[in-house]
Symmetry: C2
Subunit: 281 residues, 2 copies
């Protein structure tokens, strides 16, 4: 049985005790409503240390005022079952008032990386992500932490924060897990109705076409973006937020495609905002 | 002999090793050019744990572009002598390029508390303070840390950060140490020429008169501030930055003086910006 800890003080005391006994703590932070993408993080994490901690916390600080905080899907029983199945030792489920008590005033900002791509569409989002991840690191005190590559920008922000603030934790990115038809797994896919679910395939399809184009010799990002745009625009239920080709190291626009170039997309289909990314070379 | 550590990685490894062996680490962060105010921190800290670590780092991130970063006084030999005398185990002297390497992007902001008093006069100052203190905490991993009450607002900002980010460290404030004539000790007092040094006495004198006024029954902050203003203005070499009566818990203006009210002053005398504070009841 995974142990469930709700109290932040108890989590911190437990981690300190585990560390004092020489355990290595591996941490998978989540917002719950787990899918096979999370499972891949747990499977990889289970092999990386002696104690596997997973948190479930839908973090208010990373949602904008008009975003889907209250609608965000939750299913704790099913999540606990997966935790159990994948050998999680501790499931940490703090409450929002414990994480952000009245008078909370402190935020972490990773400049530059936080303001492009999803950060441009969701102001304050990565400030909320960086702040909660730092808090969770201070409570869980992990030696290692795992994040999914679907949220590539999130990993970059966290890696930069870890480096800049000298946090003694090692970050591992895990490959995106996809449905049979290529759609990246996401808790927010549950927002999609049947027609929208079919429409959503335009995202992985456009990414595949982009890779084909580059394989065939195209090196100009402008051309690749135009191609992706056309494919998404053919789908009447899809609304483009952004399509960009950026350097994977600094997330700045890459006009010419090379080994470090990645394609980033954000597309709204119904209530779901789908994001995805792929290397191009 | 105090051990001197320059490398940030070595400091972190050393602290991890000390913690693993069950030591309790006490930390006194400084910007060097030590005086008896720092000595009081070291004396108090020495009694609070098994390993006493003092850092010396003139933090570029807390100086404004027109401030005295390059002029800030330094005397490492004398500082090491005091460290030795007061039983410091480790003196940590990181370099600025190690603390802020190229591409550094992450900052901690404690909202509200950082923008009043000295924060209003020195935009970004407390962002720089919070960021460096968090970095130093992550490198030194102290159980306890000590700060001087002359920088009262700094203590409030750090206490808030520690609470909000769930940092496992206990903050202790130590009383301001004063010269015979009442001037609060400060490394920046070295900027004062002989005439300016005499002029600087107006600050503790005004604080004393304020306390007398309150002792005599005055409860209106406006009247007390007016009195303090008159005393400082009588001194031609002194230029008032701010005079405020604030609540000690949230640093908001306190129109009526009660147990939680404190007087805060910032006064420029020559090149030195002197700050001081006192309880009023």
């Amino acid at each position: 049985m995974s142990k469930i800890i709700t109290s932040i003080k108890e989590m911190q005391a437990q981690s300190a005790a585990l560390r004092a006994k020489g355990n290595s703590i591996v941490f998978v932070p989540t917002m719950g409503f787990l899918h096979d993408g999370h499972r891949a993080l747990l499977v990889a994490g289970r092999k990386m240390g002696s104690t596997l901690v997973m948190s479930i916390f839908v973090n208010p600080a990373q949602f904008g005022p008009k975003e889907d905080l209250s609608a965000y899907p939750r299913d704790l029983d099913r999540d606990l079952k997966m935790a159990e199945d994948e050998g999680v030792d501790i499931v940490f489920t703090p409450s929002a008032p414990d994480m952000y008590p009245d008078g909370f005033k402190t935020f972490v900002e990773v400049e530059g990386l936080s303001n492009t791509l999803c950060g441009a569409s969701r102001p304050g989002h990565f400030r909320g992500v960086a702040t909660v991840v730092l808090k969770l690191f201070n409570l869980v005190m992990p030696h290692k932490a795992l994040f999914g590559k679907k949220d590539f920008q999130q990993i970059k922000v966290i890696e930069q924060m870890v480096k800049d603030l000298d946090l003694p934790v090692e970050i591992t990115g895990v490959e995106t897990v996809r449905e049979m038809d290529g759609l990246a797994m996401s808790s927010r896919n549950s927002y999609l109705g049947p027609q929208e679910r079919t429409a959503a395939i335009c995202v992985p399809k456009a990414m595949e076409e982009a890779r084909k184009l580059v394989d065939a010799g195209e090196a100009e990002s402008r051309i690749v973006i135009e191609k992706v745009k056309k494919i998404i625009e053919k789908e009447p239920l899809a609304m483009i937020d952004y399509i960009r080709v950026c350097r994977s190291d600094n997330l700045e626009d890459a006009p010419v495609i090379d080994e470090g170039s990645m394609l980033f997309l954000a597309v709204k289909v119904g209530k779901a905002r789908l994001i995805d990314n792929t290397s191009l070379k």
